[in-house]
């Protein structure tokens, strides 16, 4: 490789997947793994059928049901909502007709698409991974190039196993130093979005680097990469290292034996070369990060938990003032109010951002020996059937239910208001999900994004709370 221009992780994966280049520079990019779910695929399969096209690579395609299903016991007796049932049945029919592997709804491996890919060992370093869902960026934590696509592109990948793509620009977000006590990967990524804004990464692929990122476990890296889209970037990635490889060795479907050795040899060449060019670089100090919580209706409207609701009149221009006034009104806030005084109705621990075993352990550590406040509904929704089983083997479900949390079946649940888990108008929710847009968790619902430990602390306090005031208690 000597004499070659230094390349980023993104450049290397991109270059390895270019099948052909069109005269205007658009690349025909090969896709190594296409994940599908019930919501963004029916129209794509319909398109294939109408054009008489086939699914090109069933072996590189995997379907799962996650978005619109109930997360209570009702899933065992059939889906109640007729439209949801139709979407699920359509996916099942399409899988059978086109030969697409599909994880059945009542299988242990079922779960949120972005949790199961890495967990099963299907999402691997150096891969290109797509899914009709913007949080596909999660898989970038494996050292893959992973991004969300629309339904037309889903159809394109089903038919050709490729996508027409313009190369993105490279952006590096470097987080250095040690995280303070009580802070997690979620606080890192919220702080990043607070810094760069929701359009800060538009047109870019973000590589997260620095020793604070290196120190994260795979679950933490997934949390960070997951929210890249909230910072405007289609993809976020972390260079693969020993932490990644150790994780892959423990997956059921990851490569084994000689295949693994060959894979490792290639994966070790993937990290960004010294001196490679980044179009944009942002640096944060991990030790300056305080537990974060969003107060408004855009992920960039985030503050330390010690903060107060901002005064819209202090914003620089009229457009921003109007936007902030609307947020304060929608969220039912008063400027100057302490965030820690905001009473909550619901706490939601789940979603592809924070529903892995590590997240559930963090919530259980706070919940142990304590009780959910009166009047608060608290849900814990594991990201997959396998996470659920693991948590139960560790006794976490008992700690949580004894504290008054609901222990649910795997799915997207209250992350988006399209299944039975929804906020009602005016309800305030401490949520570990990724979007706080108006109505995201149900019409009129008010979302505060935060980490699993912070959500558990809020559930117990009955209001947003500083997790640093909650020392874990020993077993009771």
């Amino acid at each position: 490789m000597s004499g070659q221009k230094p390349r980023t992780l993104f450049d290397k994966i991109w270059d390895a997947h270019v099948v052909d280049t069109l005269p205007d520079g658009t690349a025909l990019l090969y896709i190594d793994l296409h994940l599908t779910h019930e919501v963004t695929t029916p129209q794509a399969f319909d398109g294939l059928r109408q054009a008489g096209r086939k699914l090109r690579r069933p072996d590189l395609t995997l379907g799962v049901i996650d978005h619109n299903i109930a997360t209570d016991a009702s899933r065992y007796t059939g889906i109640v909502d007729p439209e949801s049932r139709l979407q699920v049945e359509t996916l099942e029919k399409n899988a059978a007709e086109f030969g697409m592997p599909l994880i059945p709804l009542l299988d242990d491996r079922q779960g949120i698409v972005h949790v199961i890919g890495p967990e099963l060992g299907r999402s691997l370093p150096g891969m290109t991974i797509v899914c009709g869902d913007s949080h596909t960026s999660t898989h970038g934590a494996m050292g893959a190039l992973a991004f969300g696509i629309g339904t037309s592109e889903v159809e394109h990948v089903l038919a050709t196993q490729t996508l027409l793509q313009k190369p993105a620009k490279n952006m590096k977000v470097e987080v250095n130093g040690n995280l303070a006590v009580g802070c997690t990967a979620k606080d890192i990524v919220l702080a990043i979005i607070g810094r760069i804004g929701t359009a800060g990464g538009t047109g870019h692929v973000i590589e997260y680097a620095g020793d604070a990122i290196r120190a994260l476990d795979m679950a933490g890296r997934m949390t960070v990469c997951n929210m890249s889209i909230e910072g405007g970037a289609r993809a976020g990635m972390v260079a693969p290292d020993e932490t990644t490889f150790e994780y892959i060795r423990r997956t059921p479907n990851g490569p084994k034996g000689e295949a693994l050795e060959r894979a490792l040899a290639w994966w070790r060449t993937l990290p960004t070369d010294p001196g490679a060019h980044f179009d944009k670089v942002v640096t944060l100090n991990a030790h300056e990060i305080v537990p974060q919580v969003t107060w408004g209706t855009s992920p960039e409207d985030v503050l330390p938990i010690t903060g107060v609701v901002p005064n819209p009149e202090e914003a620089a221009d009229e457009a921003r003032r109007a936007q902030l006034r609307r947020m304060v009104e929608y969220m039912g806030l008063t400027p100057g109010q302490r965030l820690q005084d905001l009473k909550i109705d619901v706490a939601f621990i789940g979603s592809c951002t924070n529903s892995r075993i590590e997240d559930i352990r963090a919530a259980a550590a706070i919940a142990r020996g304590r009780k959910v406040a009166d009047g608060v509904r608290a849900l814990v929704v594991p990201g997959s059937g396998l996470v659920k089983k693991q948590a139960e083997a560790e006794g976490l479900d008992r700690i949580l239910t004894e504290a008054g949390f609901e222990w649910r079946e795997a799915g997207c649940s209250m992350c988006l208001g399209m299944n039975p888990d929804k906020l009602t108008p005016g309800q305030r929710c401490a949520s570990t999900s990724n979007r706080n847009f108006e109505g995201r968790q149900g019409p009129g619902g008010r979302t505060h994004l935060l980490s699993p430990a912070m959500a558990a602390a809020a559930a117990i306090a009955g209001h947003l709370a500083d997790v640093r005031d909650f020392q874990p208690k020993g077993s009771v």
Binding site: V19, D46, T136, T162, A263, Q323, L416, G417, G439
Partner: protein, 204 residues
Amino acid sequence: MEAFTTLTGIAAPLPKANVDTDQIIPARFLKSISRTGFGKHLFANFRYKEDGSENPDFVLNQEPYRKAEILIAFENFGCGSSREHAPWALLDFGIRCVIAPDFADIFHNNSFKNGVLPVKLPREVCEQLMEDARLGGNARLTVDLERQVVVRPSGEEIPFQIDPLRRHLLLNGLDDIGQTLQHAPAIDSYEARQKAAQPWLGGA
């Protein structure tokens, strides 16, 4: 896909930044398995009150904007979820062109693929066009993709930039898949190389 050449129509002003896809079409309406019928849910949380009646303050509930074919908004239009239901809802309502200072990447892609033209123009220009749009039914805008100009009611022409390949596909209503399948031999040989080099793909 329907070709897009020139569109002359009523433009609705939506002076808002960060219009996300949850606003364009809330998640609870994503359960259909067809591409049509989403128009009635476009901007549902703004267009309808809690009891389901129309909110008269929202622009698309006012005359003449009920028949708007162009939408003008501010920065970062279409951010959030990758749902293609967003352009489907716009299209089903009758909107075939969105003008804004910039667009979120996935929405931008999805629009082109469904025959909705996203036009990027600086914020000051968007503000001027919103002023034009506020004049209502007598002040139609023209969006000419062939010549790459937006024509104001005064006759003033504002040029815009667009990716040549996208323009070509849209002008001719061409489907990407047909275009890509012309590269089938290249895909075949890529797959053959990949099979030898990365035998672990496809799962154990």
